[in-house]
Amino acid sequence: MSTYVYGIVRADGAPDPATLTGVGEPPAEVRLVRGGDLAAAVSTAPEGLRPKRRDLGAHQEVLVELARHGAVLPMRFGAVAEDDSEVAAELERSAGHYAGLLDRLADRVEVNVKAAHVEEAALRTVLAEDEELRAANEELRAAGGGSTAERMAFGERVSDALAERRERDAETVVRPLSEHAESVVLGPPVGGCLANVSLLVHRDRLDEVHRAVAALQQEKGGLMEIRLNGPLPPYSFVTPPGQAVG
């Protein structure tokens, strides 16, 4: 029976796993596997586990619950060990690395901020900034829209201008928010967002980060939509054994 792994915690601070709801349908029971001073929250891996919304949600919720009780090292979704003993062996083998990470992440949470342009506002902005683009737009409009090739060529220029604008605006989001974080990791531009930034934040500074994001949203007005998610388990701030704790 293979073992699904959610995350690693200190054995002494771990909550009662019976309160947790695992992946699978019906949800698997969550239990703790101990190895030295550490414990991993695990459950029996369901047959044919796939990244369904329910399972991704369960993975996340187990980690959120663990994080309420203390530092947690979240696994990436889908980690499966051969059995419990393999998990225990890994906890002991890399105990120093995991303990170091748990120390570093104590009382810290991840806050993820995604900022995206409001499309229409961004289009207006790039047209307003670029006279040639504006003229090309007028030309096409006058031609009743233009041919498909013309529209494509124009659209590509607009797309490039938007990409350039995203790049320029990213810094104006990341820089002010970084001031409130101990560590910053930039993620990929999922959903076409212009900034996807994860902040490692001390719990005591969470309100401060919320206020900073609200202020930024205020400042950016209708040009951007900025969304904050957190506090989250520190997905972006865990490194595998063999790499520096960070």
């Binding site: 990244p51 369904k52 919304r53 309420r68 990436r76 289009l123 797309s159 990929p188 959903g191």
Partner: protein, 138 residues
């Protein structure tokens, strides 16, 4: 301690919270090489997809149509800040899904492929050959 409440409370109805952190759950987090990983066929495309979509022909045509429809009258005399803060805002709010919904949609697609989705993603019309046809969702 109630600090984790915010994300926990999103569990119920709207899964926007979950959508928004899918890239973290799927692409960040600890990877231990002695463990295997369940097959994520399809879903790994998410982060890549987005870039492809942004640079696709459909997108070009959509941008062209969107620019065509914009009322830019007076934009020469109106400074940029005014433009962004004022006139645009009203119309923009409703459209604010634009960029984001593409990813959410891609994600819903993967969910749906699993027959696990109760929520229909926003319908999207891509054909923009006719100029009076709306080329975007809505």
């Amino acid at each position: 301690m109630t600090v984790m409440q915010q994300s926990a409370s999103r569990r119920g109805g709207g899964s926007t919270g979950l959508y928004d952190v899918l890239d973290l759950i799927l692409d960040k987090g600890l990877v231990i090489d002695v463990f295997a990983r369940v097959s994520l066929v399809g879903i790994e495309l998410l982060t890549v997809d987005v870039r492809v979509v942004v640079a696709s022909v459909d997108t070009y045509l959509r941008f062209a149509s969107a620019c065509n429809r914009l009322d830019l009258s007076g934009s020469d005399s109106v400074g940029l800040p005014d433009l962004v803060g004022g006139t645009v805002e009203r119309g923009a709010r409703g459209k604010s899904k634009g960029m984001i919904s593409g990813a959410a949609e891609a994600i819903s697609d993967t969910f749906r492929r699993d027959g696990d989705d109760e929520k229909q993603p926003a319908r999207r019309r891509r054909s923009s050959s006719s100029k009076d046809k709306e080329s975007d969702a809505e």
